[in-house]
């Protein structure tokens, strides 16, 4: 068992806040750069994400009079906590910092935090855009969490284990689960798009309709915290998928390269699609994605 001090160091430095933010910031930059180049633009410099953070943290946060102050402050913190607790449970090329038998269930729970925090942020901000944004986020979460959890549990049922390191070790010996359960992998990647709020499922934050939705009323440091969430999301959520289905990594470099590939794939999907309306996104997940997840889930139950 790891000591408390080690866990705290893990949360703050490696593989926690500082490391994840550095890698996530790079992946976010990669997405923006690829997007810009494919749109015949120049794109931001490498350090753009970090100087954005510095700028936001140096500014004053305004909490709207009609908002509920405490929830507005708690929302981004809750997301950051959820993402950091997930990353210390993932085996990044070596044994995870915190290892126990039910880590998959915990990771699924913690990864739902950012979505919940968005709902909290939107509904407590007292702005109509925030209210619409959080209701959209809630609808999208209902739509994507079910196939997402089902496809993750496919592996648990196949291996009769809920441990993330057991899943990784099995893949070291028998090849990535992508080949065994391709449908579940596709489902997970589609849900990933909704989870990090990218097209075609970015209705909760649609800038031309509801001006960023839940984030409309955020400013200064608090918006900076949400920027950190955004950066972390770009690393932690793909890392979770790499761990589950793409074979993890024998070392850190291999792991990061796989994440890099996944981020490129996500960027391409984002670039070539317009935005779904929220009811269309909901329908897409329920009509197409959920059946795909069910097929592989049932396969794992009957064909062990």
């Amino acid at each position: 068992m790891t000591s408390i001090v080690e866990i705290i160091i893990g949360l703050v430095i490696y593989p926690g806040l500082i490391f994840s933010l550095a890698v996530g910031g790079m992946f976010y930059w990669l997405y923006r750069k690829v997007r810009a180049r494919m749109q015949a633009r120049l794109g931001p410099p490498l350090y753009q994400f970090f100087i954005d953070l510095v700028k936001l943290f140096s500014k004053e946060s305004i909490i709207p009079y009609s908002g509920r102050g405490l929830l507005i402050v708690l929302a981004p913190l809750l997301s950051i906590i959820g993402l950091l607790f997930t990353i210390i449970m993932l085996p990044l090329g070596s044994a995870p910092l915190v290892e126990f038998d039910e880590s998959l269930i915990f990771a699924l729970y913690f990864l739902a935090f950012p979505g919940l925090a968005m709902i909290m942020a939107g509904s407590s901000s007292g702005s109509p855009y925030g209210a619409v944004g959080s209701s959209r986020e809630a609808r999208m979460m209902i739509a994507y969490e079910l196939p997402y959890t089902l496809s993750a549990l496919t592996l648990a049922f196949y291996l009769r284990s809920l441990s993330l390191s057991a899943i990784t070790h099995y893949q070291f010996d028998h090849g990535p689960f992508f080949f065994k359960y391709p449908l579940a992998t596709i489902v997970l990647i589609l849900c990933l798009l909704a989870k990090i709020g990218r097209r075609p499922f970015d209705a909760p934050e649609a800038d031309t309709e509801i001006i960023g939705g839940p984030l409309t009323e955020y400013s200064g440091t608090l918006l900076g915290l949400f920027e950190i969430v955004n950066g972390l999301k770009w690393f932690v959520v793909p890392a979770f998928v790499v761990t589950l289905f793409l074979g993890g990594g024998a070392n850190l470099i291999e792991f990061l390269l796989k994440c890099f590939g996944l981020v490129l794939l996500l960027s391409f999907i984002d670039i070539i699609h317009p935005r779904f309306r929220v009811d269309q996104g909901f329908g897409f997940f329920m009509k197409w994605v959920l059946p795909l997840a069910l097929i592989d889930f049932v396969r794992s139950l009957i064909l062990p």
Partner: protein
Amino acid sequence: MSAIFPIGPFHPALKEAARFELEVEGEKIVGGDFKFGYMHRGIEDIATTKSYHSNIFLAERVCGICNTVHSTCYTQTVEALLNIQPPERAKYIRTIIFETERIQSHLLWFGVAMHEIGYDTAYMYMWRERENAVDMLESVCGKRVNLGINTLGGVRRDITPDKEVLMRRKLDLLEKAINKVGKIVLEDKVLKARVKDVGVLTKDDAKKLCVVGPTARGSGVDMDVRRDDSYAAYSYVDFDVPIEENGDVLSRTLVRLGELFQSIRIIRQAMKDLPKGPISLEELPLPKINEAFGRVEAHRGELLYYIRSNGTNRPERVKIRTPSVVNNNSILPMVLGETIADVPIIIASMDPCFSCTDRVTIVDTKRNVSRTATLSTLGRRRGL
């Protein structure tokens, strides 16, 4: 229970200031109130204080995107007032510039519409291709946005043979780009899901609200000033007027797509038949007491100018009826029953231009009368 969802005065979906107060139940729209008037500039009043020649440049500044439309309509109305005809070559050059501007305006519209539904890649692509049209305008007029090509009794710059070569080359590039635009609009499934059967304006409603331009043609109303009351060189060229029957956002998009192809066709014909001769009249008569009325088919619909002269070098009254004035009334029937997510694309689908729309009318709800304010009253109110 319904709540008020505000859009504007400043909102990323609006390129100009306007306020929409939408009554919503959940995300569904059940009512609404629209307020314009943030961009009032008093152009009609200023026009009566300037000479006929200076007013060309004022008319051009009514709207940035359709500036040649305004200056063409103004010069044609003044030419009717003075009873003069510009030379044939000038008419052809006006037609070419007019249609090139329509191409750049429609491509700009396509980009904005794509941006409203989150398709930023197509937006960037279309605005890049639009540069070709702007380059064509620049090569002839020397400017990119406010072109300043029209003058009373003709045009100010000629299309020389070397410019013609450049324009033909750019036209080929544009045709290729427009084909690709059509492919994106017709084949992308996500895009189609967003625009099909959204914001329907029925033919009856369209006629009742007197909408004009692509908004009317998308609802099956067959009207086009270029064909019905031809001006410049439109009677010498051969073109079709695209009509769609469904009245949704997709039909308005397809009408604009069809118009892009027709514009290229018109420019090609006009460049082939370009007659030789002078480009403007040497001398202009003095205006007598008279009145004249002119109309053109702007990119957004029918544009009207009415000018009355009193024998001096300044017009007594200039009345401008821009297409957005009538089209804006159709927003409410289009958005009722749709969701908030569709409002930006529905508003964009009729290509509104608020700054050329705003008028000052004071409505006294107690006595139920309305009157139009003059500049002097407004000045008094502001304490000027």
